[in-house]
């Protein structure tokens, strides 16, 4: 019997959460150490899964299937393919660095890490799930901890509002998809929620055309698609640092991935009919997101809107339904995830010391926080799509894909690159260089070892992927290959 590695990955955070809840409230260090141990384990296992994935064989690997409810065809069916393996790895990375960044959290760390890990389990579950029911199960598990994490530990000014808005938006999106999914379940006549079987279900084009929007856009809400992106900037800003890292870095990918997995892969004809709409909305995301980011005065809002813009690129890649476009989208999910985790970590470090995120009030942070500045610059370059870093490796194929379908859209979308460059450079200059306002003199302490490890780790990933695309592209390609076969070799 093969070692059930995926189940271990999925349930380790949950088990760790239970364990953490049993530790006494006052023993904060024990809580942190336990959390780090669990996160490290998850990271190591996800690395192992990623690198042992057999690209030549392709398809779904590390498959486990346990009958959960045979009567309705529900099973705990786990497996990864080339598209989800990088995302599992991403979750491991963000979880690990998130724990490191949250080391200094002093207000009820026990509950914080417990909820964070429940969230992590949900996320792992969605990425690894090959059963539609279980996908929803894990998806919903990922929703409610967000509420608590933001409402309790978030930024005092907007946390309640942002948390409620986020939770309701996500819940609405997920239940809309649920209805679509149930419709699929009944229509297929197969009496199973097994996605592998449903992939072959051959729904009628009319059915697909009707139900695709439900499923795709329901999940895409979590991916931040315009006009349902509204929860994202507020949510990002209100959340505490590690939660923002998770939120932008992983959660939004959850939405995009589920939209891909359930929407495009199970209803390919529907995808083809509606791709124009996705493309249009994604274009708005990309351009509008970039422009709005430029006028923000709050450091974190800049990053928040930048996320909206970059997720637009992911959706755009999906909408092309071409090999390169989909490859780029898969890569962008990973690259942006790491990049945005880095951004939020850096922002958090600045905020914790300066106690303000107002850009006009900041300045000269490079002196006391040189590593943060360098890390942020690298992140910024990734965001601009600078060649040599992972952002270019991801964005370039997406643009190639757009060219194949609608060149004009590619040209319009390219505007965002310049705008992104402009706001990133401006923010870097205003926050890190220039003169430090007098009130911060001597109050900006250095970052901790944990912070440094996290930042360096994230930078190394982005640089490595940028220089050696072969580290991830072949994986994504196998996944895309499968996708294309479902689309009818388009």
């Amino acid at each position: 019997m093969q070692f059930p590695i995926l189940s271990v990955i999925v349930f380790t955070p949950m088990a760790a959460a239970m364990l953490i809840l049993l530790i006494k409230s006052e023993r904060k260090n024990e809580v942190r150490v336990t959390a780090l141990a669990a996160a490290s384990l998850a990271l190591l296992l996800s690395l192992w899964v990623y690198f042992s994935y057999d690209k030549a064989a392709a398809g779904y690997q590390f498959v486990e299937k346990y009958n959960w409810m045979p009567m309705l065809g529900i099973s705990l069916h786990l497996g990864v393919d080339g598209m989800s393996a990088p995302l599992v790895l991403l979750t491991g990375v963000v979880m690990f660095t998130g724990v490191l960044i949250s080391w200094g959290l002093d207000d009820r760390p026990r509950e914080f890490f417990a909820f964070l890990f429940i969230l992590a389990s949900g996320v792992f579950g969605v990425f690894a799930s090959l059963d539609l029911f279980m996908l929803f199960f894990f998806y919903e598990i990922a929703v409610f901890p967000m509420y608590l994490l933001i409402a309790i530990w978030g930024w005092i000014k907007t946390r309640e509002y942002a948390a409620m808005k986020l939770t309701l938006y996500l819940f609405i999106g997920s239940v809309v998809s649920l209805i679509g999914a149930l419709a699929m379940y009944w229509q297929s006549g197969l009496h199973t929620f097994d996605m592998l079987a449903l992939e072959q279900a051959a729904f009628s084009p009319a059915f697909q055309k009707l139900w695709f929007p439900f499923v795709f856009f329901g999940f895409a809400v979590l991916g931040g698609i315009f006009p349902f992106h509204n929860w994202s900037p507020d949510g990002h800003v209100a959340a505490p640092t590690a939660v923002s890292m998770f939120h932008a870095g992983v959660l939004m990918k959850l939405g995009a991935f589920a939209a891909l997995r359930v929407g495009i892969m199970l209803l390919p004809e529907g995808a083809k009919s509606w791709s124009w709409l996705i493309m249009g909305l994604a274009l708005v995301n990309i351009v509008y997101g970039a422009f709005i980011a430029m006028v923000q005065t709050d450091f974190k809002y800049v990053i928040g809107f930048s996320s909206v813009s970059h997720m637009g690129l992911v959706m755009m890649g999906f909408s092309t339904l071409t090999r390169v476009g989909l490859t780029g989208a898969g890569l962008q999910m990973f690259s942006h995830g790491v990049m945005t985790a880095l951004f939020f970590a850096a922002v958090g470090m600045v905020y914790d010391r300066a106690h303000t995120r107002d850009i006009p009030k900041l300045g000269g942070m490079v002196k006391p926080l040189p590593l943060v500045a360098v890390a942020f610059i690298i992140g910024g370059l990734v965001s601009m799509g600078m060649p040599g870093l992972s952002g270019f490796v991801a964005e370039f194929p997406i643009f190639m894909g757009i060219w194949q379908v609608k060149p004009l859209v590619a040209i319009i979308a390219a505007i965002s690159i310049v705008v992104t460059a402009a706001y990133i450079m401006l923010v870097i200059r205003r926050v890190f260089f220039g003169n430090m306002p007098a009130e911060f003199e001597g109050h900006i302490g250095p970052i901790t070892v944990q912070d440094k490890v996290a930042l360096v780790f994230l930078c190394v990933i982005m640089i490595s992927l940028g220089l050696f695309p072969a580290l991830m592209v072949p994986w994504v390609q196998t996944g895309v290959q499968h996708l294309l076969s479902l689309l009818g070799g388009a």
Binding site: M69, E111, E140, L168, I179, L182
Partner: protein, 478 residues
């Protein structure tokens, strides 16, 4: 022997009740009185175990006692859950002032449970009516048990009046049924039920009035908030769960087994009523500032969700309703139990009193989290699975709009459940000295809540066995 087995639970209930009454004078001492509660709860668990061991129905349902009762899985499963609910309620009742140390309250509880058991397995109109009354009357008294409390008296009185009225209407409906078919046995009735006509619809309407009261379906839900608020909290919990479930058992039996020929008509009516129930319940719950009232309205809404399964007139529909009720019984009992436990110490049911609960009693707060999220329909709790199945049943039968309404209502529900959790976890008490005001849980509460919490998670995660049970119950309907 075989003749007793089908009604073994009821016989044992009766015996337990008599035992409680008999032992009462011997345990005059205040402290000893608590043992009555332990006796009731323990006894109920024992009955539960024994019934599960020996009194399971056979493969084929059979009419027993001259056709009065039907020994089938539907009835059996409901009975087991009534016993369970009563046991938990007994545990909750133990520490309530004015209720926990009175033997009468336990006896009334047992009597009501007996009535519910009969309701679940009734196969004859007369039996059905008797069972309904046997259930209701003790509950009227229990609701108004705290004679010194105005609200309690009002609650009991209101409950009785409303109940009496609707039960009269129900009886009239039953009499018409008998009049036009000449049968009192439910299953024989099914055969000779008049086809679509004003009369048939009229009968259904009358029956519906009576049953809607029991399950608090719009527009006969008005009594619920006041009654729940006034009654002693464990009683409210029992009312909102077991009593409602009993009503559903009757609804299932009647509508699916007796009135199937008119399914096309009554399903529409029920669908509309269910939507209205859910919507009204959720919308008004939004505005509540008192936790008990909020839970009351939320319970009304949940009746709506469960009804969706009935509307989806199918095996899956029935099974999903039963499953939903199982999850709901566990969840709502937990919710009311937590409110009781808290109310005892804090002395208030106002939402403001819950500020900072997570710091005063972290474990209790966690249980509240579990219960409320289950009510909202979040995994990995039972409420999620229940809702998914109910919506699945609806979609299977083409009731897409109903599923959409259900979904939209879930969203509203999520909002107010999260708001309460927000008060518990985020807000602080005045003065922020939560450590000075811990909430202690007494032994019965700790036990009961632990069982319930584990149950909610269990039903939410390992739901196959429970659903199999529910399916088994559903199959026996037809």
């Amino acid at each position: 022997m075989t003749i007793i087995l089908p009604i073994l639970p009821e016989i044992l209930l009766l015996a337990l009740g008599i035992l409680v009454l008999v032992l009462d004078p011997f345990w005059k001492d205040e402290n000893r009185r608590l043992n009555l509660g332990w006796l009731t709860a323990g006894g109920l668990f024992l009955i539960l175990a024994v019934s599960l061991a020996v009194a399971r129905p056979g493969a084929e349902p059979a009419l027993v006692f001259g056709g009065m009762l039907r020994d089938d899985w539907l009835g059996f499963i409901f009975k087991m859950f009534f016993l369970f609910g009563a046991a938990i309620t007994a545990l909750f009742m133990m520490d309530v002032e004015g209720v926990g140390r009175r033997a009468e309250s336990y006896f009334l509880l047992l009597a009501a449970t007996l009535g519910m058991n009969l309701m679940a397995s009734a196969a004859d109109l007369v039996m059905l009516y008797l069972a309904i009354e046997t259930t209701s009357i003790p509950l009227y008294i229990l609701a108004g048990f705290l004679t010194g409390d105005e609200k309690s008296t009002e609650s009991g009185f209101k409950y009785m009046l409303f109940g009496a009225l609707t039960s009269a209407v129900l009886l009239y409906g039953f009499s018409l049924l008998y009049g036009f078919s000449g049968e009192t046995s439910l299953y024989a009735l099914a055969a000779s039920f008049p086809t679509l006509s004003l009369l048939a619809l009229g009968i259904i309407f009358l029956v519906l009035v009576g049953l809607s009261f029991k399950v608090s379906l719009f527009p006969f839900h008005f009594w619920a908030p006041d009654v729940y608020e006034g009654a002693p909290t464990p009683v409210a919990g029992f009312l909102s769960t077991a009593s409602k479930a009993a009503g559903f058992a009757v609804v299932l039996r009647l509508f699916m087994a007796v009135f199937p020929s008119l399914a096309a008509n009554w399903s529409v009516i029920l669908a509309v009523l269910a939507s209205l129930t859910m919507t009204v319940g959720n919308l008004i719950a939004l505005a509540q500032k008192n936790v008990k009232r909020m839970l009351a309205y939320s319970s009304i809404a949940h009746a709506g969700y469960a009804m969706i399964g009935v509307v989806a007139f199918s095996q899956l529909g029935a099974a999903s309703t039963v499953f939903y009720l199982i999850a709901y019984i566990l969840t709502n009992l937990a919710a009311f139990g937590i409110v009781t436990a808290f109310g005892r110490v804090a002395g208030s049911d106002d939402m403001k009193a819950y500020y900072g609960l997570s710091r005063r009693a972290p474990t209790l707060a966690l249980m509240m989290l579990v219960a409320f999220l289950s009510l909202a329909g979040m995994p990995p709790f039972g409420g999620f699975v229940g809702k998914v199945f109910v919506f699945a049943a609806a979609i299977q039968q083409g009731w897409i709009w109903l599923a959409v309404v259900g979904v939209l209502n879930s969203i509203i529900g999520l909002y107010y459940y999260l708001t309460v959790l927000k008060y518990v976890y985020l807000y602080r008490m005045e003065g922020e000295e939560e450590e000075k005001y811990p909430i202690q849980l007494s032994r019965p509460y700790a036990i009961a809540l632990t069982i319930l919490t584990i149950g909610i998670i269990l039903v939410g995660v390992v739901f196959a066995p429970w659903f199999n049970l529910a399916s088994g119950a559903a199959m026996n309907l037809f």
